[in-house]
Symmetry: C2
Subunit: 209 residues, 2 copies
DNA sequence: TCATTTTTGTTGCTTTTGCAACAGTTTTTT
DNA sequence: AAAAAACTGTTGCAAAAGCAACAAAAATGA
């Protein structure tokens, strides 16, 4: 990927120069936004950590997405008439930049600098998002719990460039993220340890293959 | 979504004016491209139908994505070091436009018109793709076969604006797309029929709720 | 610092899903 | 038009995953 694009700098410019955007702060546990009303909202997480969550009628929680600094999310990425109530909750104190997709194509009051590269940058941000979603699909299409776990660990390992890495979730949330039962996941983790595929120490995992 | 953007016209302009792109034709069954080498390739399907496929070591086939006219796909959407061999196969005779992400940010020989709206259009195309991927994740995170089937049918129903719609797959492929066992899926379909939730006639489904 | 809440680890049991296999259809190819 | 290939529908059985429940550990927060 084009690594000479600096997302952070882009976002800083964006934030200070443009009257088309808003910034809000949220404390842990607060609801950042819901995906009910269609307003083509896009959000960029400036600091903190948020989760996109769905509860189904059985009360099963699914973590549809988890976002970290500079990630992009928002209701614009979901089709209008889904009958799902999705909401975004701050996992930590967070700072979020809000705007609407349409507003990007109008000039702002100060006709500010960021417009020059905005759409370029937007497609770059979108591209990152697509890559993340494809990774997620990669996991979810694995046919069994072992496959899902190992795929995810593989991604984490490659991302950290080490065989040892820490899981950015509690195990409870990891299960929700992989869309599997927690106890079944724990059982499978134990099997993976017993069979010598991985080592586990708290939330640190080491791949032994 | 912004519906006044006409993807088709954009693609037509693109195709005729720009020397940065290539068009190739494929007959049914041919491999369109593989996602092995990293070259930031982007493909737009002009006509036909293609599938993005993964086979795992057990020989399980998974349809990672299925693309129709004007859809966008390509290895640029996958991170560099996945150890998966993904390939794109034509399900019907197809026509595909190829380019690389990087090439978009250079001017082409004739400095052609499409550059004006190119990045805008690109982000629009990316946005469509994100919406599709989110729908896919929506399905895949459902905890059981019934949930997956009903979610998918719900999408098809909303897309067609009718309670009756046809499935754009064979049942064999549908199972691969939902990442479930075919016979288990057939069993579940039968249950759904017996319990009065759906009607089924060939590849036409009617929702009764 | 103590009480409360959340998370982890574990297990027996039940339900769901996958696998294998095969016969009958339909579609495609020659 | 016949042969081959792919798809559909079905089933019994085996394996995997989900559920429920609980104790212990850790984290949170008043």
């Amino acid at each position: 990927m084009d690594t000479n694009f600096d997302k952070k700098i882009f976002i800083e410019n964006f934030k200070h120069s443009c009257n088309k955007v808003q910034i809000k702060k949220f404390v842990k546990g607060e609801t950042v936004t819901t995906y009910i009303e269609k307003r083509n909202q896009i959000c960029i997480l400036l600091t903190g950590k948020v989760e996109l969550i769905r509860y189904d009628f059985n009360g099963n929680k699914t973590i549809i997405g988890n976002f970290e600094e500079n990630d992009i999310f928002g209701e614009v990425f979901y089709p209008a008439n889904t009958n799902n109530e999705l909401f975004v909750v701050a996992k930590r104190n967070s700072e979020v930049l809000f705007f609407t997709y349409d507003s990007l194509f109008n000039k702002c009051r100060r006709n500010c600098d960021f417009h020059k590269n905005l759409v370029n940058s937007l497609s770059e941000l979108f591209l990152d998002q697509i890559i993340n979603l494809n990774l997620r699909i990669e996991l979810l299409t694995k046919r069994n719990i072992r496959g899902k776990i190992l795929s995810y660990f593989d991604i984490l390992s490659k991302r950290s460039l080490h065989k040892t890495f820490s899981i950015p979730f509690s195990y409870t949330d990891l299960a929700d993220f992989l869309s599997i039962d927690r106890s079944a996941m724990m059982r499978e983790l134990k099997l993976l340890i017993d069979e010598g595929f991985i080592k586990k120490n708290g939330n640190k995992i080491t791949l032994l293959f």
